[in-house]
Symmetry: C2
Subunit: 168 residues, 2 copies
DNA sequence: TTGTATTTTCAATAATTATTGAAAATTAAA
DNA sequence: TTTAATTTTCAATAATTATTGAAAATACAA
């Protein structure tokens, strides 16, 4: 396979993976494009490469900046903004984990804590089952949360290395 | 908060979490309902509780069966099918991980392996950057894949216990 | 078998989510 | 300042995804 075809396929694969995991396809494609670019790209270049509109490009670049996956880069003598992606995969994984934890897991955790304490007759099987499930979920989500904290503080090789010792 | 309100909130929270992670909201809500039910439920009961159509209920129950998160239960003397969810959270997490690995990660892994070997002049910075990124991604996705394998074979307490030792 | 309950399918429709494109706002050079 | 380049916003529209509901298929009891 030639590079051009590989590039096309990578962008579309990354986009599909993103949408399977609840991430806007264009955002994932902009990310893919920046991931494999040797140089920072302008909004124009991104629009051009992906055949998307200025509004779409702009909005998704902003989102990638919010996720800390991309940063602005100044090119001396050029008024345009350029964008470059973080290239270290472990760092990317940590930033995604950090944001999903903050945006999606913590809010659920807060709700579950409330729900553990519902009022009602615990002799009713449905109420007992509900409370038991909330307790189990609280415990599990708490452990997931701590696991992410472990990951956020860890070095890649150490993290995987220690994990893999489990299997032996 | 009373049980009825808690139940409503749990179903909607689980549904929202699902859709943030690329899972159909109704499917997540059917799952939530079954997770907290002390007894297996029929399609009719699910339709009623969630105010959804028969087609929708049926399709999402099938999907949950495909994900191995729910199984059929026979009620003697009743022709209807009843459904009960797996209640052990660690087991649920493993089954979800197993399916997402099979459906989403393995295909990406296969594509990335191809892409690592694109043809082109490696003195061109973009081509060099592309290949380098594919190598990094392959290595990372391989480790993620192995991590899931570790999880699939592990016991919950052992898994988290060992992980948490990392932080101390 | 035949009739009835139950499940499945799927075309039509609705709801949601993403995208466009042009106007408004902002920025910075002249 | 004024002007022009650039970025942002957002209402309109398009694309995608989910849902309905009724007909078809299936399963089962009589």
């Amino acid at each position: 396979m030639h590079y051009e075809e590989g590039k096309r396929q990578f962008i579309q694969t990354w986009g599909r993976l993103g949408s399977e995991w609840g991430i806007n396809r264009s955002m994932a494609q902009v990310h893919a494009l920046l991931l494999i670019s040797a140089t920072p790209l302008s909004t124009e270049q991104i629009m051009e490469e992906l055949s998307i509109s200025r509004g779409n490009a702009n909005m998704n670049i902003r989102d990638l900046l919010d996720w800390n996956l991309v940063h602005k880069e100044l090119v001396p003598g050029d008024r345009k903004e350029y964008f470059r992606a973080e290239k270290d995969i472990w760092e990317i994984a940590r930033r995604i984990a950090k944001e999903r934890k903050r945006r999606e897991i913590e809010p659920v955790k807060n709700v579950l804590e409330q729900l553990q304490a519902v009022e009602g007759d615990k002799n009713q099987p449905d109420i007992a089952a509900f409370i038991q499930m909330m307790e189990q979920l609280n415990s599990f989500v708490g452990k997931m949360d701590t696991s992410i904290d472990v990951m956020l503080k860890a070095d890649q090789n150490w993290f995987f290395g220690t994990l893999f010792k489990l299997i032996k």
